[in-house]
């Protein structure tokens, strides 16, 4: 139903019936997919404690299910919850029904189809091999299209609104829509080799930077900004009082939007990422402390005078705990971005603790609070069981605390054991990696119990909402609105984007950059130009007698120029970090070490490595840290992964780093290790991979894959089909013969042969001649 004219005397009065059907659908989907995602989480946590839970089955192994868990929780659970919250609050904040019911339905069903496709393809091993960006290219295109549908519907609704001003929650939603689109598209740029496979256009260090620019900001703009918008709407509703400080919410918004986008490189500290990028990521991460805590305090203080309600109201309990977890996670995040702290937290379970205090505490509890608040309104019946909701809260909270406490202890144990040295720092105290695995086994069990408790709480929520819905009746909210003519003329796109404040601000930013990035005369001229710009601005204001405050006020009621300026704010961070890194011909200009390209068989082996999700447990990056260098060899150089599309630096070491694995052990070691890791390494939690010994290597796909790699700049020599077959056949036979001599027999065309070929190539690089120009001359 669209906005229908009322029959009352006043023509400017209309009654609006909101589209709450879509809200109900997204709510149910979020709860259902949330349970699926958490169930998979509990299963993979069990696998880390008991390897037998991998069931010797390809589609149930940890490496394939971990991406399913992360994608389900991020995109299915939080995604659906976010859409429910946005559709509900936006309609009420702008006093207009969603513009198109068709687009809402297309959005809902399209999103569920995407999730279903992900739930099928990921266990099958169809992946892009990049964390939180694993979905294959046809699904990626569907995600982009459905996101556009959502954006059109959202902005169309804003255009039809009956409330001229835009509440701060709407700002957070706008930032989410714009930024997620930008991040998702850039990080998913790929060239297909088949319907289900592609290679990302970025490789090595470039891919690492783009991936973590995306990965970090997926947390920022998918798991944080929309939920903050939801917080700014639902917490005042539940507390029945306005937000503590609306002014602070504005500062919170602009600071967060401007700073967040820069912080991605903190995921790559102490690696071969350029140091200036690492510093930039660290500085901006530290700056995030201020706006994040400003937002947290704003949320908590909204309950001023209503704290007594916490004793009885489960909704407020969930909201307050969620905001507290937000504060803790956003304190911990910048802390972990300090290079020295990151040396301990990165690649260890500390990161897992941090992520889960955010996901379970902030996202999961905000979602639960919102569902308990929405259910009685959407189905016109009091919540079926308030006591069950309260029990859910305590069960969930205990579950989180058990989970994160176990992971903090585990993370610190792993990091300290693996970096510990003796004899004046020349020898590792624990040379066997497996010591860190066996020492933390009990903590993995505690983590599983904590996760299971949290899941049990959500099953109780599902039961509670289902009973409320079944005994109640679905109703749509409606409201009578007095439509008044706007008291200000619209600012228009041109007025918004090219208003004097924007022009002067842009010029000032340009000259600030000129001052900082140049030296000598140019730097002095930039300072002079900056002063001249500020003087011109002052004179302009004086002569025209205009108030730019009014321009700003108008901007806040005009969504399109506001959206574009928000986009500019987030683009700046991406441009400064990514453009210098991706614009140069990497291989031709690399200095120092350069990776030796893979043979066709090694490339096939690499794709098997990615398919099995080995990057979920093994890194390929030796950091510039004593413990890493003593354990794995010289630290990784930028050129050593330059041909890796996608990069495989990883983010967690459940097993050891593999950057220089090639030649470390004989091929037969890998053969037995892949068949039964415990035969080689007692106490290992790695799954068995029996199917690699029976399945044949997909040689037919290689011509297309090599053609795409060549397009991406990887120097594969030109080969005819016969030459390709011959190259593969020879290397397969060589490896098969080598294994046979060592007492391990397997036909040469099996996947294990290709995988061993790849493993034995890891870390093979060549020295590149030093440049002829000197350091100073190049300047």
């Amino acid at each position: 139903m669209s906005n229908a004219p009322a029959t009352s005397a006043s023509l400017s009065k209309i009654r609006i019936e909101y589209d709450d059907d879509t809200v109900r659908q997204f709510t149910i989907a979020a709860i259902a997919w949330g349970i699926v995602g958490m169930l998979v989480g509990v299963l993979i946590a069990t696998q880390l404690a008991f390897w037998q839970a991998n069931f010797n089955t390809s589609w149930l192994t940890f490496g394939r299910l971990r991406p399913l868990h992360t994608n389900a929780v991020i995109f299915a659970f939080v995604g659906n919850m976010m859409f429910a919250g946005i559709y509900y609050s936006t309609q009420r904040l702008v006093k207009a029904r969603t513009a198109s019911f068709f687009l809402s339905q297309l959005h809902f069903w399209g999103w569920q189809a995407i999730i279903l496709a992900a739930a099928i393809t990921l266990p099958l091993g169809l992946t892009r091999g990049k964390e939180y960006a694993e979905l294959i290219w046809p699904i990626d295109i569907a995600v982009a299209l459905i996101w556009v549908v959502f954006a059109i519907n959202f902005f169309w609704t804003l255009a039809r609104r009956n409330e001229p001003t835009l509440y701060v929650a709407i700002w957070f939603y706008i930032a989410t829509i714009i930024t997620v689109a930008m991040l998702y598209i850039i990080n998913h740029l790929s060239i297909p080799t088949s319907l289900t496979h592609s290679y990302p256009i970025f490789g090595g260090v470039q891919d690492a930077l783009v991936q973590w620019w995306y990965g970090h900001n997926a947390v920022a703009f998918f798991l944080t900004t929309p939920i903050l918008g939801i917080m700014y709407y639902f917490v005042p509703k539940a507390a029945e009082r306005p937000v503590y400080s609306y002014r602070l919410s504005i500062v919170h918004f602009w600071s967060l939007v401007f700073i967040y986008i820069w912080a991605g490189p903190h995921h790559l500290l102490n690696t071969s990422l350029p140091v200036w990028l690492q510093s930039l990521g660290m500085i901006f991460s530290l700056m995030l402390w201020a706006p994040s805590w400003g937002g947290m305090l704003n949320g908590l203080l909204t309950l001023r005078g209503a704290w007594h309600k916490l004793r009885t109201d489960p909704v407020l309990k969930f909201f307050v705990a969620a905001i507290t977890f937000y504060g803790m996670a956003t304190f911990e995040g910048p802390l972990m971005s300090i290079r020295a702290v990151n040396a301990i937290s990165h690649y260890s379970d500390w990161t897992i603790a941090h992520v889960h205090s955010g996901a379970l505490g902030w996202n999961g509890f905000m979602a639960a609070g919102m569902f308990y608040w929405l259910a009685p309104r959407l189905w016109n019946r009091p919540l079926h069981s308030v006591s069950a909701a309260n029990l859910h809260f305590w069960l969930g909270l205990t579950g989180i605390l058990l989970y994160v406490a176990a992971m903090y202890v585990s993370g610190l144990t792993q990091a300290l054991m693996l970096s510990a040295t003796r004899e004046s720092g020349t020898v590792l105290a624990y040379p066997n990696f497996i010591d860190a695995v066996t020492s933390t086994r009990a903590l993995m069990v505690i983590r599983t119990i904590g996760g299971a408790m949290y899941l049990a709480g959500y099953i109780m929520l599902a039961w509670n909402v289902w009973k409320t819905a079944r005994l109640g009746q679905a109703v749509n909210g409606s409201i009578e609105v007095c439509v008044e003519p706007p008291d200000q003329a619209p600012i228009g796109l041109r007025g918004g984007l090219f208003g004097p404040p924007v022009i002067y601000a842009m010029l000032s930013i340009l000259f600030i950059v000129g001052w900082a990035a140049s030296s000598g005369v140019l730097s002095g001229m930039s300072i002079f130009a900056l002063i001249a710009t500020l003087m011109a601005m002052s004179m302009h204001k004086e002569m025209t007698k205009t108030s730019w405050g009014q321009w700003y006020e108008q901007l806040l009621t005009n969504s399109l120029p506001f959206t574009i300026l928000t986009a500019v704010a987030v683009f700046i961070g991406g441009i400064v970090q990514i453009i210098p890194t991706v614009m140069f011909d990497k291989a031709a200009n690399i200095e120092g070490m350069r990776q030796i390209p893979y043979t066709p068989l090694e490339l096939a082996g690499r794709d098997i490595y990615i398919r099995e999700g080995c990057y979920n447990c093994h890194s390929q990056q030796i950091r510039t840290l004593v413990g890493d260098v003593l354990r794995y060899g010289d630290y990784s150089k930028m050129g050593e992964s330059i041909y890796d599309h996608p990069f495989q630096w990883g983010s967690k070491r459940t097993g050891p780093d593999l950057a220089r694995e090639g030649g470390k052990y004989p091929s037969v070691w890998h053969f037995h290790h892949m068949r039964d890791p415990r035969q080689i390494s007692p106490g290992s939690t790695m799954p068995n991979f029996p199917w690699l010994f029976t399945d044949k290597t997909d040689v037919a796909a290689l011509p297309n894959k090599i053609a795409v790699q060549r397009r991406l700049g990887v120097p594969f020599p030109p080969m005819t089909a016969d030459q390709l077959q011959s190259s593969i056949g020879k290397q397969e036979q060589l490896l098969s013969d080598e294994l046979k001599v060592a007492g391990a027999e397997v036909p040469p065309d099996r996947e294990i042969i290709a995988l061993i070929a790849y493993m034995q190539k890891l870390g093979k690089s060549e020295q590149v001649p030093a440049p002829t120009t000197t350091h100073t001359a190049a300047r």
Binding site: V475, I509, F584, A778
Partner: protein
């Protein structure tokens, strides 16, 4: 060239430029926020509290 672009010292200036830009934007926002009329703030902060029939039925 690749090496120079990625590792040379002048790129460190970007950290300073970025911080300065942020400080510039932050100060502008802060001043603007402080000068917002009280009536407008009151209108905006009360927007979530306007009830529809969902609340009225309760």
């Amino acid at each position: 060239m690749f090496h120079r672009i990625l590792v040379e010292d002048w790129q460190r200036a970007l950290s300073i430029a970025s911080f300065t830009i942020f400080a510039f934007v932050f100060v502008l926002t802060f001043i603007r926020v402080l000068r917002m009329p009280r009536k407008r703030v009151s209108h905006l902060e009360n927007l979530p509290l306007e009830n529809d029939t969902h609340e009225q039925r309760r």
